[in-house]
Amino acid sequence: MTEFAIILLSAVLVNNYVLTKFLGICPFLGVSGKLETAIGMSFAVMFVMTLASTASWVIQQLILIPFNILYLQTLFFILIIAALVQFVEMVMHKTSPVLYQGLGIFLPLITTNCAVLGVAILNVQQDYTFFASVLYGFGAAVGFGLVLVLFSGLRERLEGAPIPVAFKGSPITLITAGMMALAFMGFAGLVKV
């Protein structure tokens, strides 16, 4: 039980994908402009990442290892992720067209999102059990979502601020992200893995 808690806590806070591993920066900066969009993206990524880590574990154990084709790992993972993203896109288009429009190009981009591929690859590297790898994927996604939502809140707050012209837009966004990463350094050593 403690093991699972540690995996989850580590993935959410200590080894946060965005702020300590610097994975998934593209959607982190791209869709954090508005709170609603960020929340939608968080859930989409949560869904994709959890399923991707599950599927990648299954493929790794049932196909890649038995048939000894580990060199095709990336190819297989991308295939699975692409299919998942496609699926999420269809569901979202049906259920929430505005969110679909708001996420725009970033939704299909989850496919090539390093965070999603990263979770699949890091997962199999660490030789987790099935349940642990599902949890790891979920934890990483929660960490991503948490940071994304926090960050979108901060960016909304910056919206009306009289930021010097030279720093408006991306510069101040990156500075804020940097400050957040520094703050998250405080969690260092929280779990000894």
Binding site: V149, L150, R157, A161, I163, L182, G186, F187
Partner: protein, 353 residues
């Protein structure tokens, strides 16, 4: 035609009044720091405040804003707060760097007063702690305890402040000691219980309260900080929500775990008095700009700070979690503002128009 809306009368409160009240409330703590570290404290305080004011002036000047804003007290307050969170042994150039960082990246780039999402002083402090962990956790032996040191006269202090221990023919080890928090943490990793560690350290709650333990400049005396903090509360410059919920959370969690296993978890009173908790609770977390607006939001904010402080202190790599916790909770302020709101007149809790 100019349209001026009611009210046509004003209560007379102003930004200056607020800022200078906080500065006045911090004076007792600053005096205690001078008592503990002599000229060194004076140097550090004046360097930080001076650098902050100058940087602020420069920023305002270059950005073509009204340079009179420099006297609104916020820059001086940032400098003062920053100095109070730094260890007395910090090299001068680091303090200078931190001051400039606080004003430029912590405040002016976000558009100046009122728009910074993070507490500028704490942001600078966190940057220093992560960049220079050694210097930031080297605590000078206070004047009264290190009477044998003979480094607290003006000239030696100045040399030490500018050029480090080598300039006065000392080593770091000779002039520094562990802070209670750091000591307990190190001992715990070596299997010593909290109780034993405290005895070994010769820890006294009374000393921690009136301010005789090693630590950052302003952390020394809980008494001085409490005096200032309570005065501010009585003046309504800060509201009671954050300090109360912050300290109560730390005390409750620490107490609970201390009951479960007193060998592993330090007692609540130790947590409350150690490190920068009181300073953070009364002066950092209550920074109006980077804390939530509503009362109930402030309670949540304080709770989050308390929880994170205890978690980082107990489980993390860093012995002190107070400033990390405040900066972390600063990230969450917009969300707290959005999701945690007071119940509006005429509505049931949780229901909206």
């Amino acid at each position: 035609m100019i349209f001026l809306s009611s009210p046509h009368q004003h209560g007379g409160n102003s930004i200056q009044l607020t800022m200078y009240s906080v500065i006045i409330a911090l004076l007792p703590a600053a005096m205690v720091s001078v008592y503990l570290y002599g000229w060194l404290a004076v140097f550090l305080l004046s360097l930080c405040i001076g650098a902050c004011l100058l940087t602020e002036y420069m920023c305002l000047y270059w950005m073509g804003k009204n340079t009179n804003r420099v006297w609104d007290g916020s820059a001086a307050l940032t400098g003062l707060l920053l100095a109070l969170t730094l260890p007395a042994a910090i090299p001068a150039w680091m303090a200078l760097f931190a001051s400039i960082f606080a004003i430029v990246l912590g405040k002016q780039l976000y558009g100046g007063l009122g728009f910074n999402p993070f507490n500028p002083a704490l942001a600078a402090r966190v940057v220093l702690l992560i960049s220079f962990p050694l210097q930031m956790t080297t605590w000078l032996i206070p004047m009264h305890a290190g009477a044998t040191l003979e480094m607290y006269d003006f000239v030696t202090s100045l040399k030490f402040f500018l050029f480090g221990p080598d300039a006065i023919q000392q080593t770091w080890d000779a002039v520094s000691m562990a802070s209670p928090l750091g000591y307990v943490k190190t001992e715990l990793t070596q299997g010593v219980t909290v109780g034993e560690a405290l005895v070994n350290y010769n820890y006294s709650t009374l000393h921690a309260f009136i301010g005789r333990e090693a630590g950052s400049l302003g952390e020394g005396s809980a008494l001085a900080l409490l005096m200032g903090g309570i005065w501010l509360m009585a003046r309504h410059t800060i509201s009671w929500h954050i300090p109360v919920s912050y300290l109560a959370t730390v005390a409750l969690i620490a107490g609970l775990f201390n009951l479960i296993n007193p060998d592993l978890y330090a007692p609540p009173l130790f947590h409350l008095l150690a490190g920068g908790l009181i300073l953070c609770a009364f002066f950092m977390a209550t920074d109006p700009v980077s804390s939530p607006s509503s009362g109930i939001g402030k309670l949540v904010f304080g709770f989050g700070c308390g929880l994170l402080t205890w978690v980082i202190r107990t489980f993390g790599n860093y012995p002190e979690g107070a400033m990390f916790s405040v900066v972390l909770m600063n990230c969450a302020v917009p969300l707290i503002d959005y999701y945690v709101r007071p119940r509006v007149y005429g509505y049931k809790r949780g229901s909206k128009a």
